[in-house]
Symmetry: C2
Subunit: 132 residues, 2 copies
């Protein structure tokens, strides 16, 4: 992994740091920025780079290992797996996505983003996915 | 407010209950399901209906009051305000939205939703906004 590419921990956020880290690493894995087989930095080094506690990185790695994104082995550290998503998503996944998307949109509208800006981002995201 | 319409608290979620409640009420306010002037249920009644602690509802109301969605007055309880979003969103809002959207999409892809399903939801959300 390149030197902690786009990872940023916002210490003022209400989202726990381990979750912020896991969320961002998941993006990099799903989008293929981190490739299967690639090693993640050792816990202590990443913790130092990000300015977070060792346990924070350990917890983020644990979450991603549980989800099947990382394989953690003694001696080899944490590596990105060749993970395939579950064949059949749970039936509530779509409903859950719809609700989380509504919440996200409501939250940024509340922060003053215009519907035009939001629509444009949604369309860009959709176009990006269509290329996958 | 109709009897706690679409509100659901997921006690297995890692998102705190007060935040789940605030997020869902914010959606209802932003989407206009809850209209300006409308009263929210008294804390204790809503807590009872949702099966959460009194303080959970109090904290959610406090968050929304701080954001300007609710006006809490003694004797009149909590009412939806005629809130206008800030004229100028903070410059980081757009970047923040982009990142949160990426994280949300990565998370549901990891749960097995197809890019087609996700694209379709994104487009539906965008179309819904264009009608606003």
């Amino acid at each position: 992994m390149p030197k902690s590419p786009q990872i940023r921990i916002d210490t003022t956020s209400t989202t726990p740091a381990y979750k912020q880290l896991a969320d961002q690493l998941r993006v990099l894995a799903v989008e293929g920025v981190l490739k299967p087989g690639e090693s993640l930095p050792p816990l202590r080094r990443l913790a130092l780079e990000l300015g977070v506690h060792f346990n924070t990185v350990a917890e983020a790695y644990r979450v991603l290992a549980q989800e099947g994104f990382l394989l953690i082995t003694h001696g080899h550290g944490a590596r990105i797996t060749d993970r395939n998503p579950p064949r059949r998503p749970e039936p509530e996944s779509l409903e859950n996505f719809r609700q989380r998307l509504r919440e996200l949109v409501a939250s940024v509208r509340a922060h003053g983003l215009s519907t035009k800006q939001i629509t444009s981002e949604l369309n860009t995201a959709a176009e990006g996915l269509e290329k996958c």
